[in-house]
Symmetry: C2
Subunit: 204 residues, 2 copies
């Protein structure tokens, strides 16, 4: 008889194996068969845990998103000034996207038609980022280092949205949710510059 | 015999009539027949000037874009400070989008698949906006009112891209090129706030 705990361990192993497959071969080139094979699992048992590849992907996405948020949260309250906080957020996100580049081919393939469960994760990540950055603004405002900010959540959302607008010079005006890998360094540099100017505009 | 000048006048009349149709009924609900009817023109003659509706639309778009740029340029060098320039740009664009809202249903319908000729117009408008704003930065920098800006073009592009990232609070993380009409006021307010903070970050 399988206990709940055994099931949880099994699930974690499946998520890890699937993550590796998605990471190295992308979503479209990964099959449920291969993931089952990696774990010497019967296909039937894999499908018992995850009814199809997209649901397995969403579960991996949730796990990966939590790992990203844990990195962000691990450094909360250790920063020296707002600039450090925002730079850490931008750099952590950059590293996360570079390290998981192939994993996100699902986003690139389905940009116009992502399932709601993916949007829920995206929204959750964004809200957690906002919470972290709002805390940082409140700390700095408490020290009297900022101009009066009536609504820190609004200010943080505004900057995060603005950062999403940053594009590479060579791109057309077409909007993309996920940038090409070779563009990520330019995007990061521009985001850091935008953040630098924006924060100077907030400081007393 | 039709001279070139007569042809130009005829073309202008067609563009005006088409603009009115697109403005009031949108692209999809306008037919070439109706435009010909508005001008008491034979369908054959209309097609002689514009081989199909999409090419007529692009020509109207080019005309409308030039009118927008003329408004922007008419006030160049009359501003008192950078904030006034950027606010004028944001407000003029806002009014332009509100006044031409139905006209842009073509963009909303074809967001993922706009013809290259449309992108050329969009790129031209953007470049003209950049030129105008770069001039303004250079004027202010010449007065010693700005922090050293090595590359004004880069700074202006960065802010324009950032302004494109602004979204309404209620929206999901999905990106849109054209906002709903009821969201345009919120978008404008956020763009003005972003610009205000950004410019403060540039000022000495």
């Amino acid at each position: 008889m399988i206990t709940v705990t055994d099931q949880d361990i099994k699930k974690e192993k499946i998520l890890d194996a699937a993550h590796q497959r998605f990471l190295h071969f992308g979503y479209s080139k990964t099959t449920m068969n291969e993931i089952a094979g990696d774990l010497s699992l019967s296909k039937a048992l894999l499908y018992y845990y995850f009814p199809d590849k997209s649901q397995l992907y969403v579960a991996v996405m949730r796990k990966v998103a939590n790992e990203y948020l844990n990195i962000l949260k691990s450094k909360a309250n250790t920063f020296n000034g707002l600039k450090e906080v925002f730079e850490f957020q931008i750099n952590t996100q950059h590293d996360f996207l570079v390290n998981n580049y192939n994993f996100f081919d699902f986003f690139r393939l389905n940009e116009q038609n992502l399932p709601d469960m993916i949007w829920e994760i995206v929204d959750h990540v964004r809200q957690s980022e906002i919470d972290l950055l709002v805390d940082a603004i409140n700390v700095e405002a408490g020290k009297g280092k900022l101009k009066a900010v009536n609504n820190p959540g609004e200010i943080v959302s505004l900057l995060l949205d603005a950062l999403q607008g940053v594009r590479v010079s060579s791109s057309s005006n077409r909007k993309v949710m996920f940038h090409n890998k070779e563009d990520l360094d330019e995007i990061r540099a521009k985001r850091l510059l935008l953040t630098d100017i924006f924060i100077k505009g907030l400081i007393n």
